[in-house]
């Protein structure tokens, strides 16, 4: 017993010294060479189940083949579209105890970590591996902060997609082949669905309402007007925004009344799948769900860009970082190398239902939807998603989500517009 105790104490002491070394933050990680790396690589994600877990497993398969000397340590935390994981991660980073790499939405959400000086600059890594030419320029621009790149994108999702039930539309007298091209036409279709006794538009709790709000803003203001909301070029108090919020109010009136009690996006998408509702605005991870449930595209369900946003790709991307003071920086770089590689991106995205960020990845056997999304991404105008941390930092998104959630109750257009303007004024630089 005593022996074991002293052993424990020894391990604890060793852990402390290691942590002290790691915590210094002066590890010359730029010189770390991934091919010599050994030991464990702890990777923090919120991909704990479903298609996300399957995608991660596929990626780990490639990683183990690329770097047989390294062991992958899965540090995934489940729950709440990553909100649970983010709080755990924040605590670990604050305590100076970072994982070797962690998942973060590309874009403004990274800003918090950069501001807190928690990320290593990966520009050198991009150069060494010749990645700048392999990723789309639009994406690289959105990842670059003050000329530096801090993360490696693993996949790209689209947030302005409407998923529809073919049967419900046919019965309501709406042609599923010819979706509406603007909001007015879409609302007219929803009136037909309503008359047929089904829910026109399915939505779930707070963040899915924010995503619907974002889609309506994008459709109503156009891509430039929408982008302007986040950089101050569009006035939140303008009449155009009032019109957009009124359109959102109209859209909400078509939704299921129990929206706040649906626990996540999946139950709302399920309503469309089951034929209880006609439409659901959701990111294209819904595709993986339809596929998993063995539904056929064009027969059971159909999809189209949210009316009025055709030719615009409302983007969000997951990316991986190299935190300052990572215990095994060479291992981290090995992991980032696998993620950025064409093989890694193919294996991961095929299963997760998203599209590869690396344009050299092979996509011949991807699903029909994925192929169409890849095509759209290469030619559409790219805008950043609000609900998924690409457009604004977390604190801004949080405040705006509260205002949108409040609007779900009081439907007060004026009050939502005033508070959104006040929030933008508070956070805009």
């Amino acid at each position: 017993m005593r022996r074991r105790l002293s052993l424990l104490a020894g391990v604890a002491a060793l852990g402390l010294t290691l942590a002290a070394c790691g915590g210094g933050g002066d590890t010359p990680s730029d010189n770390a060479n991934p091919s010599d790396a050994t030991g464990k690589v702890g990777v923090f994600t919120w991909w704990a189940d479903g298609s996300e877990k399957a995608g991660l497993d596929a990626l780990v398969g490639v990683f183990n083949k690329d770097f047989p000397n390294l062991t992958f340590d899965n540090l995934a935390v489940a729950g709440g579209a990553g909100s649970q994981a983010k709080s755990v991660l924040a605590a670990q980073l604050k305590a100076g105890n970072p994982p070797d790499s962690f998942q973060a939405h590309a874009g403004a959400e990274l800003q918090d970590y950069i501001d807190a000086d928690q990320l290593e600059d990966l520009s050198g890594f991009y150069k060494d591996n010749d990645l700048t030419s392999q990723f789309p320029k639009d994406l690289i621009d959105r990842l670059t902060v003050d000329g530096k790149i801090y993360s490696v994108p693993s996949n790209i999702h689209r947030a302005n997609v409407v998923w529809a039930n073919v049967d419900v539309l046919k019965k309501a007298g709406v042609d599923p082949e010819k979706p509406a091209t603007d909001l007015a036409g879409w609302f007219a279709d929803m009136d037909k669905v309503k008359a047929s006794g089904k829910i026109p538009l399915a939505v779930a709790g707070s963040w899915t309402q924010v995503q619907l709000f974002e889609n309506i803003l994008l459709s109503s203001l156009g891509s430039d007007g929408y982008n302007g909301l986040w950089d101050g070029k569009t006035d939140w108090k303008s009449a155009e925004v009032t019109t957009a919020i009124q359109a959102y109010e109209k859209a909400l009136s078509y939704t299921n009344t129990d929206r706040d009690s649906l626990s996540d996006w999946a139950p709302a998408t399920q309503l469309v799948e089951d034929g209880a509702a006609a439409y659901n605005v959701m990111g294209d991870w819904a595709e993986a769900k339809f596929e998993q449930d063995k539904k056929k595209s064009g027969v059971d369900y159909t999809y189209f860009a949210t009316p009025g946003t055709a030719g615009v790709f409302d983007f969000l991307a997951d990316s991986f970082t190299l935190p300052k003071g990572a215990p095994n920086p060479a291992g981290s770089k090995a992991w980032l190398k696998t993620i950025s590689s064409a093989e890694g991106q193919t294996a991961f995205n095929k299963v997760k239902g998203s599209i590869p960020a690396n344009t050299t990845a092979k996509t011949d056997d991807f699903s029909e939807y994925q192929k169409s999304a890849i095509k759209d991404f290469s030619q559409d105008k790219i805008v950043s998603s609000l609900a998924h941390g690409a457009a604004v930092p977390v604190a801004w998104l949080n405040d705006l989500s509260t205002a949108v959630s409040k609007f779900g109750g009081d439907k007060n257009v004026d009050s939502l517009q005033t508070s959104a303007a006040a929030i933008a004024a508070k956070f805009a630089k």
Partner: protein
């Protein structure tokens, strides 16, 4: 000197671990929390500028925070009123000489042994806001379905999704869970009143109502006070039940300071989160400290 140390030494040694742990993990953290609440640490970027009580004044002027305080007031009134009424009623019924007291006592007390998180998941389903008359009403579940099937369909409502009174629906499961506990308190109070007092009152010609009004109620008031304090401070801190019933923490209709603190913390607004924490601590102190003072004075006497 040494002799003295021998007397109090072992006592101090025995208490020291507890005192150190409580000192660090409770009191030091309270101080640290208070310190953060006086800084401008509103983003993940470390910043330690002292801003005095600015965060507090901003929060108290913020309509969203005022709304959460108002919600807290409604929640506390319904939660307290419900548990006191049901707790007293059940205790009064069980106090009557009847069979099966032990059985019913257990039945009423059992909900307390379930954690808020576990019961919250079930109540999320029970308090589903969908009504049979609405589009998609065939999916109606929980209490609304039950009301409809027993012919009370007109009483269906949107429970916690109601923008004004939604928070009162959150108190329903809380009342269900803690009424049994208040019943146990009252039952102990009833048992503490000697039979002789009742008999004496009856001999003096008291009616049943007068007996309760002048003999029993006055003797139950300390029990009542304990119940108010215990339920009151639980209500102020209520977080897990709301979190379990309402899927998204950032749901305006049922926002209370405790959930708002969580939302702020997730958004890396550490200063505001700490300020809300301090405000909650002060609110709870308003409830608990007079009680501690009262009991210590009663013990001295």
């Amino acid at each position: 000197m040494l002799k003295r140390a021998k007397i109090w030494g072992p006592g101090v040694l025995l208490l020291a671990p507890t005192m150190i742990l409580v000192g660090v993990f409770v009191y030091w953290l309270i101080i640290e929390n208070f310190r953060v609440s006086l800084t401008n640490q509103h983003t993940a970027k470390p910043s330690n500028k002292y801003v005095g009580f600015e965060n507090y004044t901003n929060l108290l002027a913020d309509p969203n925070f005022q709304h959460s305080l108002w919600n807290l007031l409604i929640l506390t009134i319904v939660f307290l009123g419900g548990t006191l009424i049901f707790g007293f009623l059940w205790a009064w019924i069980l106090e009557q000489p009847a069979k099966g007291e032990g059985f019913f006592r257990s039945v009423y007390l059992f909900p307390m042994s379930v954690s808020f998180i576990a019961s919250g998941v079930v109540w999320r389903w029970l308090l589903s806001s969908l009504q049979t008359s609405q589009p998609g009403g065939e999916r109606t579940t929980g209490l609304n379905r039950l009301l409809d099937s027993v012919g009370l369909g007109a009483f269906q409502n949107d429970w916690w999704s109601n923008p004004t009174w939604g928070i009162a629906a959150i108190a329903v499961p809380a009342v269900w869970q803690l009424s049994g506990y208040v019943m146990a308190l009252f039952l102990a109070g009833f048992r503490g009143i000697p039979d002789e007092l009742r008999e004496a009152a009856r001999i003096d010609g008291c009616t049943e109502w007068k007996l309760y009004r002048h003999v029993i109620f006055p003797q139950l008031s300390p029990v009542m006070l304990s119940a108010v304090i215990i339920i009151g401070h639980m209500s102020l801190k209520l977080f897990d039940l709301i979190r379990a019933i309402v899927p998204d923490a950032n749901t305006y209709d049922v926002q209370v300071p405790a959930t708002m603190m969580w939302v702020k913390y997730i958004g890396s607004d550490y200063a505001d989160a700490a300020a809300i924490g301090t405000i909650l601590l002060v609110l709870v102190a308003f409830v608990v400290i007079p009680y501690l003072w009262y009991t210590s004075r009663a013990e001295k006497r």
